[in-house]
Amino acid sequence: MQTLTRPSLRRALFPLHRNLQTPSSPPPTATQPPSPDSTTHFGFKQVPSSSKQHLVKEVFDSVSSKYDIMNDAMSLGVHRLWKDSFVSGLDPGKRGPLKVIDVAGGTGDIALRILDYAREKYSDRETSVDVVDINGMMLKEGEKRFKKTMYHNTPQISFQVSNAQSLPPSQFPDNTYDIYTIAFGIRNCTNIPDVLTQAYRVLKPGGVFACLEFSKVENPLLASIYDQYSFSIIPLLGTILAGDRESYQYLVESIRKFPSQPDFAQMVREAGFETGKMVEGRGGAWRDLWGGVASVHMGVKV
């Protein structure tokens, strides 16, 4: 394995702390690899692990055509701010062109932001993004979006159907990518440690793992308002705008089932990544957005 580290990159990510690998919290609970009869959560319901993938597929088949509109309606446009902050935190293009893999990238929100950022800030037209998603209909929406951009039919963008838990080595060889992103996707995966293992495999040494996901809100007042909003308004918005209450009920429930920030940071470490200290904020393993409604977790492969 290469001993090449990227000290400048690491310092940029975790400026105040050195390498701290010792786990300090107990392993999180929701990570048993599914045995054939085991069950897992699908929102607040319990379902056989083997059927979760199909159930999630049905949800995303159903929401794909209105996905972007619904995101704007449900978050009142705030998801755009989160994604902008996520991509600026990565600063793609600063040290030259990058190979990026954007997993669960479906409709291409993150991919487009990465390419635009590198182009506008660093005049970079060599950075490429491979968008990977398990759901073909979501990828179709992504392709439609990209047809309206200058990246269509260039080597800068590609769309591939694949399962984040088992990226085929023939399509995604080891040590290929500089950045691995997964935004608002990992909580839908049945086996999160498998996803992290694959992320570790396909990243180059020194490569960065970055995850943007809904997370736990600590502040009780904010949490109460957020819960009310999530469970009252969002399923109704789904009913009104998309004629589909169930999918949006699943979405808000799946957010509650996702591990907390420290638990997920621990999982990232267990996959082999080096992360910041087990705190929030600069130098920490994660950065909260809007009080923890969303959170950015990052790790580096050494």
């Binding site: 607040f44 009252s232 109704l236 009104i240």
Partner: protein
Amino acid sequence: MATRSSIAHLQNPRRTLSSSSQTPAYPGHIPLNWFENAFLAFGSAAMSLADPRRGDMIAALGETTAGPALPRLRDHMLNSAEGRQILKDRPRINSDTVDMNALAQLPEGTFGRAYVTWLERCGVTPDTRAPVHYIDDPELAYVMQRYRECHDFYHCIVNLPVDVSSELAVKFFEFANLGLPVAAISAAFGHLRLDWPKRQRLFGEYVPWAMKCGASANSLITVYWEKRWEQDFGELQRDIGVWSAPETKWRKPLSEAKIAAEKRRKMAEMALAEGAEASS
């Protein structure tokens, strides 16, 4: 009894804040608190205007705005022998419960025969009504479902087709007869989509007819239509106190019935093919 929903309540304590502290009272029931009800009322009103093909939104509008109208309709039913029988039997109207072939065999001039003829002329089926979700009391939910499913009978008994003007005329009629707010809302806003000559006709001829006829007739929710298939059409009209609407132009049939028939044919073919495979 520890039901699944009460256990869910313990595991997910925040649910006490929302309406989901109520357990569903019937399959498909989605309990709403007053805020959610208001939100859905406004949202479904806006969406129904924006996209009138969203039948589920018009249905939601009806349920969220029903208020005291449904208990009143139930009282009408309780006050009539026929209505009481309906509440007891809770009959449903769809292509499984209505034998279209048998009705087509009835003599000319009967209500049943007139109904299938009306369905064919308009190109609709009895299957197009959304289920009730947002009414908490199961009996009132049934009254709402019954109202929705009888809508086509109201069209048939006053001889109106399903184009926009005629639908609005029926809505005015329903409001005068049954008093449901959604009928008033549809009537009040629906005509905005009409052009001027049609609107003139609507308010000049159909609305006077609708208000007079609807108000003077019996409460139509108490009519047990399924027991009157063989009754003479004119006699039925006199029985319940309605008379036909002013003459109107009947357009080409809608494609609903054709699409439904195609679907049924395909499913029958698939079932046959599967049966043949299984036995071979």
